[in-house]
């Protein structure tokens, strides 16, 4: 009887999930191991995290050209890279959008934007959109802070850059900075997960 009950329960669960309109991609949770990628940078070279032998981790940011929230954060992303590259946590920006349906997010526009803003970090194109679903990015900008532990890159923080998109001077919680500072101190980031409004990644 008990087995019957559990079979019933499981099938109800399966049916329920099967009919969910659009299941949210699972993606990474805190503590998961992030896989490396090999994506084309705006300078034409391929970039992987394994290229950075001395990095202690990475600030991986899914961002793009067209999204107003991404644009609002551009200067802050440059600042993050400048501030934390030397401490072992460089920024790697990835444009996850399909340029065919997301105007202004094509590779040439990415090159142009990177040059205009003077990006100090790689700005990679997720060609074929294989990487962002693995990470579980849903919007731009969406940060995944990775920390090297025993040669593996563990996800240490997921979410927003800070708590005020519209005014950098009015920020009261710098989520990403606080998280990296915690890692440098050998502590766990708190919070390790935040939410923010962003542009849906265009598939």
């Amino acid at each position: 009887m008990k087995t019957l009950k559990s079979i019933l329960l499981v099938s109800v669960f399966i049916i329920a999930t099967a009919f969910t309109i659009r299941p949210v991609a699972d993606g990474y949770k805190i503590g998961d191991t992030a896989t490396d990628f090999k994506l084309k940078n705006v300078d034409g070279k391929m970039v992987s995290m394994s290229d950075y032998e001395n990095a202690k981790g990475f600030i991986v940011i899914f961002t793009c050209n067209h999204c107003p929230f991404s644009i609002a954060y551009e200067d802050r992303i440059i600042d993050l890279d400048k501030q934390y590259k030397d401490k072992g946590y460089p920024v790697i920006a990835i444009n996850p959008n399909n340029p065919e349906i997301s105007k202004g997010d094509d590779f040439v526009s990415m090159q142009k934007r990177a040059k205009e803003k003077g990006f100090t970090f790689p700005y990679l194109f997720d060609d074929g959109q294989k990487i962002f679903p693995q990470y579980g990015a849903t919007r731009t900008p969406h940060v995944f802070l990775l920390n090297k532990e025993d040669k593996e890159l563990k996800v240490a923080y997921i979410g927003a850059i800070d708590n005020n998109y519209s005014d950098a001077t009015a920020v009261t919680e710098k989520y990403v900075e606080d998280a990296i500072n915690a890692l440098i101190e050998g502590e766990k980031p708190n919070p390790n997960f935040t939410k923010a409004i962003g542009c849906t990644i265009k598939k």
């Binding site: 309109i21 107003p68 609002a72 997301s102 919007r139 979410g159 989520y175 849906t200 990644i201 265009k202």
Partner: protein, 169 residues
């Protein structure tokens, strides 16, 4: 009792209607700004209506594409105890330059309000634990039922979901 309710309904309907015409007459649109504290009551009403709350922005292409579906629901169901509220996530400093011109250009009839609360990590999970923060996103609720969707809608799909929620009423 039933009569009283009917009268009340008619009165409220008329008063709403006259509001609208005076608004149209003056041709001035004013957008009310909300923080989570002031928005929350709109998301938790326990009256007889079913509410369709759509989170959108003028800069969000898939949001703009699905707006006609919400406008059509508003037109077809506003007399059937359904209220559509379009919660804009446009930047607060772009109300005059973007949001109001957009409303005029697209002749939006549904109620548009602005969610101006910047501390998004605090309020997004309160609207739904399921919500990552990507838009478009939609909440359909009445006092008996509530469902949240982080997805785009066609009219047919939106109507189907609305009818599902209706059933619970």
């Amino acid at each position: 009792m039933k009569k009283l309710l009917l009268i009340l309904l008619i009165v409220s309907f008329i008063s709403c209607k006259s509001d609208k015409t005076s608004e149209e007459k003056s041709n001035e649109i004013s957008i009310k700004s909300y923080t989570y504290e002031t928005l929350e009551p709109l998301l938790n009403k326990d009256d007889d209506k079913t509410y369709v709350i759509n989170f959108w922005a003028t800069w969000c292409k898939p949001c703009v594409e699905e707006l006609p579906a919400f406008e059509k629901i508003n037109a077809n169901y506003k007399d059937k105890n359904v209220e559509v509220i379009l919660v804009s996530l446009d930047f607060p400093n772009q109300i005059e330059t973007r949001l109001i011109p957009f409303i005029k250009e697209h002749n939006l009839k549904s109620n548009v309000i602005l969610m101006a609360d910047v501390d998004q990590n605090k309020w997004i999970p309160k609207i739904s634990e399921k919500w990552s923060g990507a838009i478009p996103a939609t909440l359909i609720y009445n006092k008996n039922s509530r469902k949240f969707y982080e997805q785009s809608f066609s009219y047919d799909l939106l109507e189907k979901e609305l009818k599902e929620i209706f059933k619970t009423y």
